[in-house]
């Protein structure tokens, strides 16, 4: 269960990461293309966290960066590409060449990992889905198995629950009590937050009252550990209503990340070098 922040406590990002993200933790930074918590990820790297297990449906640039910086020992994911562009070169370099060090991999389908978070949010040990059947993903028996329906005898896939130590998301709004609101493509954020022991949210803005937004997810302050105001904290991803996706950067990243030296130069330019020294 999340350790609640005193309702209304809005803290600095550096404090939130220092207090709630520890070496060796299982950390999920979620956001499906939209609302990816880049600023929080960079703060994790700046604080020199090590040996993390990183969980995320779509690792995207944010995990390419963390992996290249040597923050992660393990990756749990379902799709590790730069959408519409190509490979995540730092992820590939880690898996293919163990640079900067080896990266263990557990992989799911989207359906499987989404259900694993949902089971985690319900504090159930597993979820049932019609999936994985016949794929080689099923060989990961420690996370993907099967159950038999007690009513029909049908065999179905079972996926082990995912319960991160910490989930980090970015959202559009917090109110003055520290309740959080996000909308647009909300992905698996609700489930990832509720599955975690602790949850950190960066937001674009604090408001007196939430607007009406169809499709919004609202998270009460008592399931959150920290709320931090970080405008544009999702760049180069976006926050609907606040920014647009920086597709240019997504394409430029391909060249930056393709090469270790250009990656390290980028990291140095962004005050992210320290973690890469590990």
């Amino acid at each position: 269960m999340p350790s609640p922040a005193p309702p209304g406590t809005i803290t600095a990002l550096s404090e939130a990461i220092a207090e709630h993200v520890h070496d060796g933790d299982t950390v999920a930074l979620e956001g499906f293309t939209h609302l990816i918590p880049f600023a929080a990820a960079h703060e994790i790297a700046r604080q020199g966290r090590r040996h993390l297990t990183l969980v995320r449906m779509t690792p995207d640039l944010v995990y390419d960066q963390l992996i290249g910086l040597g923050v992660a020992d393990r990756l749990v994911f379902s799709y590790g590409g730069n959408p519409g562009v190509g490979s995540l070169h730092r992820l590939r370099d880690a898996v293919e060449n163990s640079w900067p060090h080896p990266l263990a991999v557990q992989e799911h389908s989207h359906a499987g990992l989404a259900n694993a978070y949902s089971a985690g949010a319900a504090r159930l040990p597993f979820a049932v889905l019609r999936g994985y059947r016949g794929t080689d993903l099923e060989r990961q028996r420690d996370i993907i198995s099967s159950v038999t329906c007690p009513f029909t005898g049908e065999e179905l896939a079972a996926v082990k629950a995912v319960n991160p130590d910490v989930t980090v998301i970015h959202a559009q709004l917090a109110d003055r009590d520290g309740n959080v609101m996000l909308w647009g493509i909300t992905g698996v954020q609700r489930e990832a937050v509720l599955a975690a022991d602790r949850a950190i949210v960066t937001v674009e803005q604090v408001v007196d009252e939430f607007p009406e937004r169809t499709g919004a997810v609202i998270l009460p302050n008592w399931v959150l550990s920290a709320v931090c105001v970080v405008p544009n904290g999702a760049w180069p991803s976006y926050a609907a209503g606040y920014s647009v996706r920086d597709n240019d950067f997504y394409q430029r990243w391909d060249a930056i990340a393709r090469d270790r030296d250009s990656f390290l130069a980028w990291a140095a330019d962004n005050d992210l070098k320290e973690s890469a020294d590990a």
């Binding site: 379902s78 898996v95 359906a111 016949g134 794929t135 060989r139 493509i185």
Partner: protein, 250 residues
């Protein structure tokens, strides 16, 4: 204007597989282009569903990712990713799933995970994403992939999404499986009795020999093989318009 290249022909042929009114689950890359092309040409009422949660998205330009704001902003409804996979994909509400492949075998099994061994891959590919359950549950699966001996392989290194199984007889999923494989050379369809992918149509100007030479197994060729109609001016205009908007947006 009707000058076109093989990639354009492939995208046009893929788009034509989508019927007006179909509910289509759109993946990243060529499927995204084909589905949006269909919606701008012969299938204006096809319903685009993106695994990011957007249902009935009506993108005004080609989205670069499957989570662009334009998809959410123009959708009838946006749902969570767990709901998308449980209540929409898994429940069998998708008529057509468009998929890509890094490797595909003669029974339509798809690899998008690794080249080489999973534990120590030579090439680490993006992974399965939404494909395994789309491949299982969509009523029809259309695979879009350029032909080459490295891609059309005897045995895939890793089964990310099942077609008809290792010998073509193992499919247990509710959907019909990969009913069409659209390549830059033509169209392959599963043989009705063996499920072996068989060349049934060729794009204009492509020979059977070229298709055979770019297939890593002994390619079966249908009798009375037909030619795919060349892209129309309308199709090419729409396709290039989509691409240009993609470029200007990116």
């Amino acid at each position: 204007m009707p000058e076109w290249d093989s990639a354009e022909m492939m995208n046009v042929a893929a788009a034509r597989e989508l019927h007006d009114g179909d509910v289509c689950l759109v993946g990243v890359g060529p499927p995204n282009l084909a589905a949006n092309l269909a919606r701008r040409t012969h299938a204006p009422n096809c319903r685009l569903v993106y695994e990011s949660g957007a249902i009935d998205a009506k993108p005004r330009r080609l989205p670069l990712s499957i989570g662009d704001d334009d998809l959410a902003a123009t959708a009838t409804a946006v749902v969570s990713v767990p709901e998308m996979f449980n209540f929409w994909v898994g429940a069998g509400r998708i008529d057509v799933g468009f998929l890509g492949a890094a490797q595909i075998d003669r029974f339509g099994n798809i690899n998008t995970t690794v080249i080489g061994a999973h534990a120590h891959p030579k090439v680490r590919l993006p992974g399965a994403g939404g494909a395994p359950e789309i491949a299982a549950a969509a009523r029809r699966v259309i695979v879009i992939v350029k032909q080459s001996p490295r891609t059309f392989v005897e045995t895939v290194d890793f089964v990310s999404s099942v077609g008809y199984g290792p010998t073509g007889r193992e499919r247990v999923a509710p959907g019909a499986g990969p009913t069409r494989v659209i390549t830059d050379h033509g169209v392959l369809e599963p043989d009705p009795s063996t499920n072996e992918l068989t060349l049934t149509r060729l794009h204009p100007g492509v020979t059977v020999e070229q298709a055979v030479a770019t297939t890593g197994w002994v390619l079966k060729v249908a009798e009375g093989i037909q030619e795919v109609p060349a892209p129309t001016t309308a199709e090419l205009t729409a396709l290039r318009g989509l691409r240009n908007r993609e470029a200007s947006d990116a």
